[in-house]
Symmetry: C2
Subunit: 358 residues, 2 copies
Amino acid sequence: MGKRYDYQAIKQWVKRIYDAYGFSENDSAIIARSITATDLYGIESHGVQRLAMYDRKINAGDIKVDAVPEVICETPVSAVLDGHKGMGQLVAGKAMRLAIEKAEQSGVGIVSVRHSNHYGMAGYYAKMASDKGMVGISATNSNPFLIPTYATQPFLGSNPLAFSMPAQPHSFLFDAATTVVSLGKIEVYAKRGKTVPGAWAVDESNEISKDAKKLRKNLSAAPKIGGMLPVGGKGEKNGGYKGFGNALIVEILTSILSQGHLSADLGSGTVKGISHFFTAIDLHLFGDPGEISESLSVMLERIRNLPAETGEKIYIHGDKEAAAFEDRLKNGILIDSETVKEMAEISEQLHIPYQMYL
Amino acid sequence: MGKRYDYQAIKQWVKRIYDAYGFSENDSAIIARSITATDLYGIESHGVQRLAMYDRKINAGDIKVDAVPEVICETPVSAVLDGHKGMGQLVAGKAMRLAIEKAEQSGVGIVSVRHSNHYGMAGYYAKMASDKGMVGISATNSNPFLIPTYATQPFLGSNPLAFSMPAQPHSFLFDAATTVVSLGKIEVYAKRGKTVPGAWAVDESNEISKDAKKLRKNLSAAPKIGGMLPVGGKGEKNGGYKGFGNALIVEILTSILSQGHLSADLGSGTVKGISHFFTAIDLHLFGDPGEISESLSVMLERIRNLPAETGEKIYIHGDKEAAAFEDRLKNGILIDSETVKEMAEISEQLHIPYQMYL
């Protein structure tokens, strides 16, 4: 499936690649940290696996190496940022740092962003706030994947929302697409030649399909064929209308508030640039941050210790990521051979020696 | 099933009932407006149908007629409110008005509330903000209903979250429990002697049951038997972990931030008082409110006009409520005979003449 590679070495390799694209030393370091941290959390679909996609976008000029994100309007509690098609990790990092600064000054910081690019793992930015003792929220729109309830074509993005808050032994970290699964999960099943286990997506006839290879092909077409179902599934019977609504809320917070492009208009044609949303909230607004965080830790531990189904363990959002982080830091991050090959090819094109990182 | 009654007359009747409990004229009017507006929106499960439950709680002293909600701590962008076990509609109304005032002054207002009571329809408070041209968010915890993924007993509440924003021809209004359905929906199926159509709840053996009467009985027991599934369903196959996460986020925003009681500790025993969360965000933070709202209206209209499944119509959250509002205002609100009987009994106990309202 894949091999383990030393995290520090891979981070250095990624930084070298971004140095070579022409990003500043500082920006390359930020990008490399964000991308490889995602692999540390075990979210391999959004880490170095994405380098090939970013490479295509940089070469096509969809990601601008020299973009300088611009604050369009600003108050003590908010800002709107135009990413000017910069690298998503840079734009998002700047936006969340701005939200955190505003929260430090005013108690809360809300930053809506337009004209950015794929920013990796939504939770990475939410966790930037919880690492500072705050509540952090991060969301993004994307290419159109999600089919609204009773429609027959996609309109909304996979539109993930992440929420993080400090707790012991590690932060609460929720990070989830508003579709049943992210496209990456279908891709994993397709690569392994397996059928998908649930009702995740529909085919060209708007019928639920479990054929991972067909779904991957359809969902990579432009315009897409079929689409992905919202959490809650097809129709209204099991609450699909709620997943659709959550995706709409993310679309409002991202592309509507920032006056950027709708998910519906991305992915085919010439419209480019996705939108994000970030919020940081200082826990001092509600009392003693230590006490509030402690009561969260106690609640989460009570949930972990509830009676469980036979053979199952109850996980809190963030538990698996924290365990993966510890494991990967010690034993290396997991990269499949195809991704390593892609990284080697990118490095050769950029005339970067890379053998020492392997 | 039920009969139509003039909205103004029923609102007047409800106000008389609350006058008789000893609430001030002003407070009774606020309570009556909130409860009957819910019936106008067609959410009959949370309107006058709840008067009997409130009556029991008032008589038991769980709802304090003379409670004065108290601001525990406050900043220009936030407050924590202790409801001192007051009527949920009064506490929540005060909290959302405070959030709106802060948003008018500072751009955003966040108010977390503890020691309150059932506040009716979550969306009513979110819409208070969108009626002022703002984004409104409202959430509440509740008695424990939701079973965390892989657990075998409920811990979290049905934990609804509502989100509203101004649009034409009417506000976007999302209002949904983080369980697949609210208990009220199971009660409706039980009353009609029907089986439930989806995988909504599990029985005493942690197996999905479609027996509405059994589910209603189990879920009304203290402590509850079985429990309700999160949006996304049982296990992880179709994203149940995401619905569980959304319920956890609501629990954090309500009982954790306000330092109130957890859903898990309510519903049986002596712990009383639920927690709410409200946010109002001024659209001026992001640019011209008219333009932003217009772009939302345009997007929602595009979704309504997507190709639809045969025989189906695509609804945006708030469409059904707006249509019901218009219908009920003109043709009367819909009240079942059992509820009218309960209202008559309450009125007799309070020595209120009520025949003129029927």
